[in-house]
Subunit: 505 residues, 2 copies
């Protein structure tokens, strides 16, 4: 068979695990979005069946043989397709490390653990969550060993887990960037304090009409370029983005965390979704959960939309009058005040709503704590305090309770341990590719001022989305900018935002 | 094994098909509620896998053996459990008539057919829908033959199909009731015309704020007794109620058909849902799609809430001031005018929003047309006209387009052919059991006047819901009232509603 024919055969074979993967995705989405709290536990059995089928039908010998054959002749395919095939082969090999029973068992823990997390977070009760988190940590350590970590050397566990979410990247490189950003942020916060300037941010704490906030969310998504004909928006506890099928990428948002929480949460998830909506068709019909490469690249797109575009002054020249119409009390806040208020460097407790300057302190805290508990250096009962201490070291504030501390994020309960560093990869990569875009499209400011996201999304589509899932973050940055992945562009971006606000030089 | 042990074994065995059945239910719900139109077609493959698994894992020899053993000793079980076991055995035998490939094939047609119906209805374009409807009719005829109808005698097809939705009931009995109701309604409409009275109904045509309508829906559900801790509400094209799992019964409503469409649609579906929420636990953990016995009984509960309670004057003494607060323009409509306006006998086009007096003309039209096309007496292209003629014969008005004619209902596209008569069974049964309730609980008016649905729901729970899925409609009416199922109570109820409105005697 020719490479072309083999590729078609692969597509046909992958129809089954792809369908199961989407069915499983629907189940997980439903649990997180619409399922009543009292009904989640009983879904465990079914969620396990679905996760098991998605896994079982992917790791078949027939699929493996077809992939092997295809990798052998991949050079005959168009380059992106060839790269995609190699990536899929990598996913296959990683999936095959786990037997279906293990996947089902972990899925069972995930269902129960997320359900308990939801309540524990609402009640700020870490003790309630601890037993499930312990189960999740144990099975994750087991997984690391199955995947090749040294059972006798717990410090080898974490890199294996991180590799699941960012294959091909060295965690030491990420750690160095995180430490660098940490030092930069501490220094910046010191200079901000010394400046004596306190920009007006009271309007971010105001209570806004929930119905108007709810109405705002889909409008934000639409403005930044999310295609509602091929997706949808729902309210949830923790914002996320997920593909549920062909022509179907869903985002979620929340209105429980004020105006900024609603606006930037949706802008962020819409950035993810636009990436997904621009993937080549054959990736979407050959879909397995593990294929979300690279998470760092994905995050660069959400951060690019959220921060690169939606915290910029030109954008708000366009959108602020509309926002004031929705929320008339904002008439008393000037455009300058508003833009300054969303470009601060201020310690805060909630990661997803942290400003750009302080954001990496949160992910670094998560990274250090999760690496600690996976290695056994931090016991479960000590997690809240270990986390709070990390936040205090970086930001000088201490979470007053666990809901605003280690319980705020769904990931650990959801079994995503080793995932957090990818957020910072995206956080650093985002400004790098946005800088390149602005060099390539000098009219970008005019476009934003007109509320036109077309040139931005088209550029990202060409350079990032259509290369979706085939490059590592480091490879893609290098390919696009000719420079290595680093914190430099991120620092420039932070300074350009906060310099005018605090009068720094 | 004792009957008790066998029952436990059955529960354990049924865990698998139950989980698949709920997964399939989630898929179908998603397609109908949140899935973007452009994404439905691609879900066909996955929907077929799920429907296939739900069927395949139900009809196993092991399940059959366990059921046979259990039926043999069912008398040792509590009576309701014993009856449930016999019903499940009946479902099993009916399911076993179809092989999984047939189920998958029909599910494929259903997915495509509903997707096309949605667009065809929006565009009022029957021609667009005709090819899919033809496919659905063909496979349904095939199904009737598999299930024992005489291939050489197409008039035997329909009773076999009706039996799927209302096992144990003779379609001839239902037809006689439908004809009786038809004559009654024609006569009543004549008397109404002769009365010269035209009650005020303009407020039902007013345009109301969609956000306020949307906000109204869950409040209505809550007031009538729907438990939001074990279910949820969503907007959709066609209102329905579905169980998606343990502690999870969802209802849907629409705000595109005015105030009455929103209010009574939700009250109706909430009536279904309260039934479902009151089922014994073992029924909910032993769930297969075919178990919705009896649909007529189910409908009696939705009609009881919608009409028996929510069109009564005492209820509106409680709720009308609240409604006026939500929709201030209603200040200009008096309580008397409002109650009269929702208790009319007026020809109209949309079945689910028809008044109680004219409702059965719609189901009778559906019944006669579907029986006709299944037998081959009506060809697909003639369906719109045949349907319109039935409506004209009964109501003296002719649907101006197919969206308000044969395309208004999802059922045929969804493969539910033979289902419509069950609506009228519920329509007749509802008033019969409500009459009995009012005899047993003479304070019912005071309760309604206080917005207290507790006594009503508790009575229905005891007499109907806890007997859920084990009796036929005829059996249950007889058990509860000591009288056979008939149109008598329905006629009394209609007259008590319209008599004061039109000054009839």
């Amino acid at each position: 068979m020719s490479a072309r024919q083999l590729f078609e055969r692969l597509q046909k074979l992958m129809q089954v695990p792809t369908a199961w993967s989407y069915s499983y995705g629907l189940e997980a989405w439903y649990q997180r979005v619409y399922c009543p709290a009292s009904a989640i536990a009983a879904r465990e059995f079914g969620a396990k069946l679905l996760a098991g089928m998605a896994h079982r039908t992917f790791i078949t010998d027939e699929n493996g043989q077809c992939l092997d054959d295809l990798v052998g002749v991949a050079d005959e395919l168009p380059t992106t397709q060839a790269a995609f095939v190699r990536r899929l082969k990598l996913s296959f090999d990683m999936a095959r490390q786990l037997d279906p029973e293990f996947v089902e068992r972990k899925e069972g823990i995930r269902t129960r653990s997320e359900a308990v997390w939801k309540v524990a977070r609402a009640e700020s009760n870490f003790k309630m969550f601890a037993p499930l988190l312990t189960e999740m940590i144990n099975i994750t350590r087991e997984e690391a060993i199955i995947r090749g970590a040294d059972a006798n050397n717990p410090s080898t566990f974490y890199p294996v887990l991180f590799n699941l979410y960012e294959p091909g990247m060295d965690i030491a490189l990420v750690e160095a960037m995180l430490d660098d950003a940490f030092a930069f942020t501490r220094d910046l916060l010191e200079r901000v304090r010394a400046s004596g300037v306190t920009p007006r941010t009271d309007f971010l704490e105001w209570t806004y009409d929930p119905i108007a906030l709810k109405d705002l969310c889909p409008d934000v998504a639409k403005v930044v370029g999310f295609d509602f004909d091929r997706g949808g928006f729902d309210l949830t506890t923790h914002p996320f983005c997920v593909r549920l099928g062909v022509n179907d990428v869903r985002i979620t948002g929340r209105i429980t965390n004020g105006l900024a929480g609603a606006f930037f949460g949706v802008a962020h998830e819409a950035g993810h979704a636009i990436y997904d909506q621009n993937l080549p068709d054959y990736m979407v019909t050959t879909w397995v959960e593990a294929m979300r490469y690279s998470l760092g690249v994905h995050e660069s797109q959400s951060r690019g939309t959220e921060n690169g575009n939606c915290r910029s002054r030109p954008f708000w020249e366009f959108y602020y009058p509309k926002l004031q119409t929705r929320f008339p009390r904002l008439q008393e806040v000037s455009l300058d005040e508003f833009v300054a208020g969303i470009n601060t460097a201020r310690p805060s407790f909630i990661r997803v709503e942290a400003d750009e300057a302080t954001y990496n302190v949160h992910t670094r805290a998560r990274f250090r704590v999760e690496r600690g508990f996976i290695a056994g250096d931090i016991v479960v009962d000590d997690i809240p305090e270990a986390f709070n201490q990390e936040i205090f070291d970086g930001l000088g504030i201490r979470p007053p309770n666990d809901a605003q501390g280690c319980l705020q994020d769904i990931h650990w309960g959801g079994g995503l341990i080793g995932y957090f560093p990818t957020y910072s990869i995206g956080n650093f990569m985002g400004p790098q590719v946005v800088e390149q875009f602005r060099q390539d499209v000098p009219d970008w400011e005019t476009h934003l001022r007109n509320g036109d996201f077309g040139s931005y999304n088209a550029w990202m589509c060409e350079h990032v989305h259509q290369r979706g899932m085939v490059d590592t973050a480091a490879e893609l940055v290098e390919r696009i900018t000719g420079k290595p992945l680093s914190t430099d562009a991120w620092k420039r971006r932070i300074m350009s935002g906060v310099r005018p606000v605090y009068g720094l030089n």
